[in-house]
Amino acid sequence: MKTKVLMAILAVVIAGLIAVPWIASYFYVFIFTEILILGLFAASFNLIFGYTGMLSFGHAAFFGIGAYATALVLIHLEWPFLVCLLVSMGASALLALMIGFLSVRLNEVYFAMLTLAFGMMVFAIAYQWRSVTNGSDGLAGFTLGSFGLGLDLTLANPSVYYHVVLGIVAIAAIVLYLICRSSFGMILKAIRQNPERVSFAGLNVRTYRLVAFVIAGTFAGLAGGLIAPFLRVASPELLHWSMSAEPILMAILGGTGFFLGPFIGSAAFVLLETWITTYTESWMLVLGIILAMMVIFFRKGLLGTAIDWWMEVKK
């Protein structure tokens, strides 16, 4: 009964998302495009944070490298968009393999510091390697050509681009969800709760942490590939360590214990930012207060708290 109601709610939400360009203004088409892309970024982060228990402070490195990869391919090679996204995923997977290989051997605060340090190095490279990355200005002036697969889509149209993003994020979310529910996903949850017991069950915990890190990085790269054409620029801000904080905040805001939590967190984050900044400049102050309240009173995040409340009421 309850799962049926939940499925019905989910179906309504998805139908609503599909209908956004027809029922809302262009302004909200942009807002929802951003929500979906950042939601995927946060969901990829939650695979290592909420599921595996690894607090990375360098996740923006993979998001940013994905954005740069798509921008570079569009500028120099003009390949179809779908191929750009695959290049973004490949580039971020490779980077995640390198950073992960050196980081996953450490735990907790040391892991967090090392990922932060690597994230800063990637930022510094993008900032200073002017011949390739165009330094602080970033890469701009690229245009989207075809989509690929022979589909005739006008990607320059924001509504079309929104639907493309919705489709790709939905597929990516399903893949991530399946991974979370697999035996591999179960082992990740076990590692968060008790890594020692997992290694005494005969598994190399380091390998599992590395694989999770690479998967998370790959999907962050996909999100990055989607954000570059949306912003029309791939700039060093996307790689900045403060960008690594966003998926952390979104995951906590929405609820780290639920697969859809980071998406809810992304929606809350972007919508609140949009609404609050129309009234006051001090959006960060308001966000800070909300986050403090969440952590103190609603540890399970918006989604977790809502589900708990609903289960209580419906008893």
Binding site: S182, V198, S199, F200
Partner: protein, 260 residues
């Protein structure tokens, strides 16, 4: 002639200037239950940590079924057939009791590498997990979150997880520590049954002498990191030095055992 499951030769562990385990030699034969006793700080847990791969020995070799496993990491030693429980409960608190065993089973069967199966629909593993819970008499708790079951049941759950790796050698570190007398009786009975089934080789450390004398085929007495005596429960009971070692337990804190 049967070969020993485990052969320990000249095993030592030093922490700086402190010798925690010194020159231990031991052979464990298949299907026997061997108990390791000794006062706090005698080096029992350090000894376990070396056999299970949690610590590297300073000297000596550990051979499992003819294969040298000295200094291998825990996951490799576990794969080769040594499984252990800990003095403090070491389970997955937020999972159900059944899922706790399922994690170990999917590791054992290699399902843990599957990214796109649906773990909650793997009935084979689920049935097997329930089987192990039945063996420990806790299958009625299978749907409970592991953190809410009683202390004694948690210890039994950990033993179920240890057995689920189908080990050649089971190391139990004070299996009845902290249990009520009732739980201790129940657990001792269970271990005796499992040992009697002839499927397992047990190595047990324990402070409760009733439990030790009830379960052990052979006893190794350790004192200040060294082997004081090894023999049958009868021989140990009547050994004068062993009695002295136990009477002198209070002022014997020369070597602190490493954290469990």
């Amino acid at each position: 002639m049967t070969n020993p499951v485990l052969t320990i030769a000249n095993l030592s562990k030093r922490f700086g200037g402190v010798t925690a385990v010194s020159d231990i030699n031991l052979e464990v034969m298949p299907k026997e239950t061997i108990a390791i006793i000794g006062p706090n700080g005698a080096g029992k847990t350090t000894f376990y940590n070396m056999v299970s791969g949690r610590m590297q020995p300073t000297e000596g070799t550990i051979t499992l079924d003819g294969k040298d496993i000295t200094g291998l990491p825990p996951h490799k030693i576990s794969r080769l057939g040594v499984s252990r429980s800990f003095q403090i409960n070491n389970i997955f608190p937020e999972m159900t009791v059944q899922e706790n065993v399922e994690v170990v089973l999917s590791a054992y069967h290699g399902h843990s590498r599957k990214l796109f199966n649906i773990a909650s629909r793997n009935t084979e593993i689920q049935n097997e997990a329930v089987e192990f819970l039945k063996r420990l008499g806790i299958d009625s708790l299978k749907a409970q979150r592991a953190e809410v079951i009683s202390y004694g049941d948690k210890r039994l759950l950990e033993i179920a997880m240890v057995l689920a790796t189908q080990p050649k050698l089971v190391l139990l570190d004070e299996p009845t520590a902290g249990m009520t007398p009732d739980e201790t009786r129940r657990t001792t009975q269970l271990i005796k049954q499992l040992a009697g089934s002839g499927d397992y080789t047990f190595m047990i450390t324990e402070h409760d002498m009733d439990v030790v004398f009830n379960l052990a085929d052979r006893i190794l007495v350790m004192h200040r990191g060294e082997k004081l005596f090894a023999g049958t429960p009868e021989e140990v009971k009547n050994h004068p030095e062993v009695r002295v070692a136990y009477l002198g337990e209070e002022d014997d804190e020369a070597v602190e055992e490493a954290n469990p």
